[in-house]
């Protein structure tokens, strides 16, 4: 049975320096609270994997915790660029950042292959695209029936995947609803998985065909209401678009960034997330 833990304990016992970690979420259900705990614990030298690194990876990279990023779209969705990631790539600040860049299709297929226990994903992609000239992990296989050359990328198998979900039941079965992204694949592809949830309930009462992760696929469960903020949790609170817009200003300057991180991450804890979403929930 999956064990419920405090966030500090789950992160400390499962994520270690030098690991490859995927904090997944496609706009929806991004595990901000768990990423902030990693920042507080200063777990560094990480390989950060994610289709759409946004604020959390900008923060982790800006704090110098990442040696490598594997991604397919490194932007602040609907706003613009990721300024801390840019500073690392363009100026090696605060440290050099290795990048392995793919397309969305490649990463989605690579997570799927990881979940499926395969060494690689095969798909029709990168036709005429420049990434295959700069990324040695984009290769080719030939269909033995048609002779078509298809693209191949290695399966993604993170040491740890971290996701945020709506509900867990007492046994630890987890329900994800709405825009489900690649979270199921990320959990099944990883050697270990941490899941933070909005709510713990007696029974999931989930439709039989929706996305449920059985408890035995998860290593640690943590109850963190609001834990996706400023991302959203469908059915709980909407996306905090103002926070995404503000981030562009905060991240624009190294000192402003550092000050914000001290105030809002290093000197805060996971309990802050519930209050951050209380206004969004209409609780005033």
């Amino acid at each position: 049975m999956a064990k419920f833990h405090a966030l500090q304990d789950a992160v400390r016992t499962i994520i270690r320096p030098g690991m490859s970690v995927a904090f997944e979420g496609f706009t929806h259900l991004i595990p901000h609270a768990a990423a902030h705990e990693v920042i507080r614990q200063g777990i560094d030298d990480l390989t950060l994997i994610r289709m759409t690194p946004d604020l959390v990876y900008d923060q982790m990279i800006g704090m110098g915790l990442a040696r490598k990023a594997v991604f397919s779209y490194a932007g602040n969705p609907g706003v613009g660029l990721l300024r801390r990631l840019r500073d690392a790539v363009e100026n090696d600040w605060p440290r050099a950042l290795e990048i392995e860049e793919h397309s969305h299709a490649a990463m989605a297929n690579a997570y799927e292959a990881g979940a499926a226990g395969l060494p690689m994903a095969v798909f029709r992609g990168y036709l005429g695209a420049g990434l295959k000239d700069v990324n040695p992990n984009i290769r080719s296989v030939t269909c033995p029936f048609t002779g078509e050359a298809l693209s191949a990328v290695p399966a993604i198998r993170p040491d740890v995947s971290v996701i945020h979900a709506q509900k867990a039941d007492r046994r630890g079965n987890v329900l994800i609803e709405g825009i489900v992204g690649v979270q199921k694949e990320a959990v099944l592809a990883a050697k270990s998985a941490i899941v933070t949830v909005e709510e713990v309930v007696e029974q999931l009462d989930a439709h039989t065909n929706v996305c449920v992760l059985p408890y035995w696929t998860i290593d640690a469960l943590v109850h963190v209401p609001g834990g996706a903020h400023p991302s959203y949790a469908h059915g709980y609170y909407p996306r905090d678009n103002a926070a995404y817009l503000n981030w562009d200003k905060i991240a624009a300057d190294r000192d402003t960034f550092g000050k914000w991180m001290h105030e809002n991450v290093l000197n805060a804890d996971a309990s802050a997330f519930a209050s951050r979403v209380s206004q969004l929930k209409g609780e005033t």
Binding site: F26, T27, H28, M51, T52, F71, S72, Y73, A74, G75, P77, G78, L81, L82, L85, R86, V89, E90, E101, S103, H104, A105, A108, N109, Y111, E112, F123, R124, G125, Y126, L127, G128, A129, G130, L131, V134, E148, A149, G178, I179, V180, G181, V182, K184, E185, C211, Y232, H234, P238, R239, D240, N241, A242, Y244, L280
Partner: protein, 258 residues
């Protein structure tokens, strides 16, 4: 005729290019406005798909991100992202994919990855996201973006996604079976590729736009079609629907972050 701004005509012209039978892979920003304007005017049965997995969505307001909750609430169904890219995009079910660009060349090749050298970039841009496979898997690609010399360039710094390459039959030579960029709609003109060379050619200029305005905002020698027309201005209905959509959107987003 009602007054309008160039941005509105750009959106209206893109919307007009869509039909009831289209299945569109929509991006955020101008494509989203155009697709939803089409849905709210002449193409009520158009299918809008966002790469977050929402299929057949009909948002009341425009989403700020590709994965806003309303896209899911109003969708016929919402699928996992791997399924979106495998069954729906790679499966060849999308008739029109919309792309924008940081840099665009006259053959519809697109760069959203880096300015400068890939390994030592002057500006690190967000990267391609879904674009490399959108460009090759959709039946057609429509590009919408504002003209500027910074972005309409002779040579792009990186091939994020492939348009017509060096032009002519370059797509087919790479084994790509889809049509690629077939339409470029800007704030100044409507362009289509020449049937042979595949170079973007001006088909119509928006009302009031001169060839000098064009030369000021495009970094290559512009090819004009044999009969360059004036883009029909937005109708009153189109403007009303578009402005109401944008007003609803602004009000909703203010409320959300209040």
């Amino acid at each position: 005729m009602t007054q309008y701004i160039a941005d509105e005509l750009m959106t209206v012209a893109a919307a007009r290019a869509l039909s009831n039978n289209d299945v569109c892979f929509v991006g955020i920003g101008a494509p989203s406005a155009a697709c939803n304007l089409a849905r709210l005017t002449h193409a009520p049965d158009i299918t809008l798909i966002y790469e977050s997995g929402t299929i057949g969505t009909a948002p009341e307001v425009l989403p700020l991100s590709i994965g806003d909750g309303e896209l899911c609430d109003t969708a016929v169904t919402t699928v996992p992202v791997p399924e979106m890219f495998r069954y729906w995009l790679q499966g060849g079910r999308i008739t029109v994919g919309f792309l924008g660009a940081a840099q665009l060349d006259r053959f519809g090749n697109i760069n959203t990855t880096v300015v400068g050298d890939y390994h030592a970039p002057k500006v690190r841009l967000p990267g391609g996201g879904g674009a490399p496979e959108i460009a090759s898997s959709c039946q057609q690609i429509f590009i919408t973006m504002k003209q500027a010399r910074r972005s309409f360039v002779r040579q792009i710094d990186f091939f994020t996604s492939f348009g017509h390459g060096r032009g002519g039959p370059h797509r087919q030579e790479l084994g790509i079976t889809t049509a690629g960029p077939t339409l470029l709609i800007t704030d100044k003109a409507v362009w289509r590729p020449d049937p042979e060379t595949k170079e973007f050619t001006v088909m119509s200029l928006h009302p009031g736009v001169t060839q000098a305005d064009m030369a000021d905002t495009v970094g290559w020698d512009i090819r004009y079609g044999a009969d360059v027309e004036e883009t029909p201005p937005p109708t009153t209905e189109e403007l009303e629907v578009l402005r109401a959509l944008k007003a609803r959107t602004a009000a909703a987003h203010v409320k959300e972050v209040a």
